[in-house]
């Protein structure tokens, strides 16, 4: 009996037992779909994180007030709520002290209510200077950004994030409109480009929902008392990714000296690299992928054991058929092959259907969840190969049992 005939006989048996075959295929299918989707989710998350690293710039440092110690956790600065000042930022911007630091942007931020006509929207108000745009790597869709003159003259101007503009003005053009921030009327001069929400990282708030005002305007109008000259963050962009650690050391040394601190362990500020945070996020995502992949792998194994189960039941149920085929001249090898073909057909059909379902799921699911799914063709092909392998591997034992049945015992059974 040649390969084609063996294949035909095996396939016919699969078709003849439709319900049983369908259930087996379903088991394999779910396993394969699970593998493709979970691996896709993990890969999607990783890609998102790495694209965020690129977007943020890997040469960005953030200086925040206060420091962390191993024993007490976060420690506030000496004497006041915030120890970072505009003067610190100006000092860091010096090419002499810090040659590896490219651009510096001091940032004050707070949450405030924005009112435009009758519309009210609470968002993050950021007070900064013109270099913020470069450091953050942003651009404008319309209007202009804050210029030096706005900072020196404490101009009442504001640049809105795309989401903020949409919330306050809807479809209307926000340029030259007036927004009241903490009771102060501000003229809208520009709208930021859209960068999309960053669900993968908790270190930044929604970059499309914020209002940017000149640093001086923010400190005099929106903040009071001692915090007037302090800033909540200093953003530092190194001249390149390669000089990031040099920039880090220069900033650290300069700030320690400015603050009169000799012991670096007692520093009243913390410098973090965004890339550092994101690489941690990436490794977390990788761990998640491995975990999810493991769970999916187990479901695939369960599917494989399902195939073995069905094939064993099939052997028991079909003792008479096997006996008859043997009486008519089928050798043990032919019987074994028939059952192997049946198991592999089930595995293959389940694998292909599972891959198709996985691809459909990868198209449909992102519309309902925020996370992207990246399908790797290698994973899909691998899953199909694994499904066929499972069919064969878990079909061998039942096939062997079927082949060993004595024809007389088989024919006698009722």
């Amino acid at each position: 009996m040649n390969v084609i005939e063996t294949f035909r006989t095996g396939t016919e048996a699969v078709v003849a037992h439709r319900l049983r075959s369908a259930l087996t295929v379903l088991g394999i299918m779910i396993g394969i779909t699970a593998v493709i989707l979970t691996v896709g989710l993990g890969e999607g998350a990783q890609q998102q994180v790495s694209s965020q690293i690129t977007a943020l710039g890997s040469n960005l440092l953030t200086v925040t007030p206060g420091s962390t110690t191993s024993s007490t956790g976060i420690r506030g600065g000496f004497g006041s709520a915030s120890t970072l000042t505009v003067a610190d930022a100006t000092a860091l911007n010096s090419k002499v002290v810090a040659p590896d630091i490219g651009t510096v942007a001091p940032v004050i931020s707070t949450n405030a209510s924005l009112v435009a006509g009758t519309t009210n929207w609470t968002t993050t108000v950021v007070g900064t200077d013109p270099s913020w745009l470069t450091v953050r790597g942003r651009s404008l869709t319309e209007g202009r950004f804050i210029v030096s003159h706005d900072v020196t003259s404490k101009a009442n101007v504001v640049v809105l994030g795309a989401t903020t503009a949409q919330q306050l003005f809807g479809a209307r053009d926000p340029i030259a409109q007036t927004v009241n921030i903490a009771g102060q009327p501000m003229s809208v001069i520009g709208v930021l480009n859209t960068v999309g929400s960053s669900s993968g990282s908790s270190t930044t708030s929604d970059p499309d929902d914020q209002a940017i005002v000149p640093l001086t305007t923010a400190s005099s109008l929106l903040f009071s008392g001692a915090s007037r000259n302090s800033v909540s963050q200093i953003l530092i962009q190194a001249t390149s990714a390669g000089t990031l650690s040099a920039a880090y050391q220069e900033a650290d040394a300069e700030l320690l000296s400015l603050h009169g601190i000799t012991n670096s362990a007692a520093a009243d500020f913390t410098i973090t690299s965004e890339a550092q945070v994101l690489s941690t996020a990436t490794s977390v995502d990788k761990t998640l992928t491995v975990l999810l992949g493991g769970v999916a792998g187990i479901s695939l194994l369960v599917g494989g054991i399902g195939v073995m189960n069905i094939m064993l039941v099939s052997v028991t149920e079909r003792i008479r058929e096997i006996g008859l085929r043997k009486a008519l001249g089928a050798t043990p090898r032919v019987i074994r092959r028939q059952f192997l073909v049946e198991a592999s057909v089930l595995g293959t059909v389940g694998g292909v259907l599972g891959a198709i379902l996985g691809l459909i799921g990868a198209e449909v699911l992102p519309h309902f969840i925020t996370d992207p799914i990246t399908i790797s063709p290698v994973a899909a092909a691998g899953a199909i190969v694994v499904a066929i392998g499972i069919g064969i591997a878990f079909g061998v034992y039942p096939a062997g049992r079927a082949a060993r049945l004595a024809p007389i015992d088989a024919l006698r059974s009722e």
Partner: protein, 266 residues
Amino acid sequence: MTTPIRQSNGSMASGSDTSPVWIEPTGTFPVNRAPVIEARDLWKTYRNGTLEVDALRGVSFEIQSAEYVAIMGPSGSGKSTLMHILGCLDVPTSGSFRLAGEDASTMTEEELAHVRNKRIGFVFQQFNLLASLSAWRNVELPLLYAGVDRTERKRRALDSLERVGLESRVDHRPGELSGGQQQRVAIARALVTNPDLILADEPTGNLDSASAADVLHLLDELHVGGRTIVLITHDAEVAGAAQRTMRIRDGQILEAEMVGMAGTGR
């Protein structure tokens, strides 16, 4: 096409695996005078734990080509065991058993499968048709295992079904056929490889009397056409259809009756 498939020297026709030679199941069947079955002192012992049961105790007989022999005995007489050995479904514990000149008592499972495929056509009490296959697909099964190509299989299967008068039912599944028709499909399947021996095990056991008479008449026709038939039954009336009856009891052959033409008992 009148080439006889039997080989007088008795060795297995190894070339027939690749180029099987088939002759038409027609009345012009060449009669070969060499015995189809030669059984010499067959013993079969079953072991059930420490208990040993002799199902056959030294059975010897010959069946000539074109004979129609009934083997008759009550249940527990050893007739099923004998049938399994005659059908190459089992091998004897001792003694020699030659089928169409080949010693089947020492064959491996693989060799027995080939012998069953080429030399024997089975007709069972339970019909043993595959429910998922149409009549002609059931009939072609032995040819499938013999490695015959698809078009040739279909042609032979249809010929065989025509021989048993079921040419109008070739595409029906067993479930759509009456018991008598199913048994005729089974006979067509037994004929399709043009075997040396047709082994019928209680072929009328599950049939009403009209269908039973029909099947016995068909076997009779095949015998007249030159087929060698061994009929196993417990029913004396059914056994009466054969030329010769061998009675078996307690694993031994009691007597051999001659009805009509040649053949020797013990």
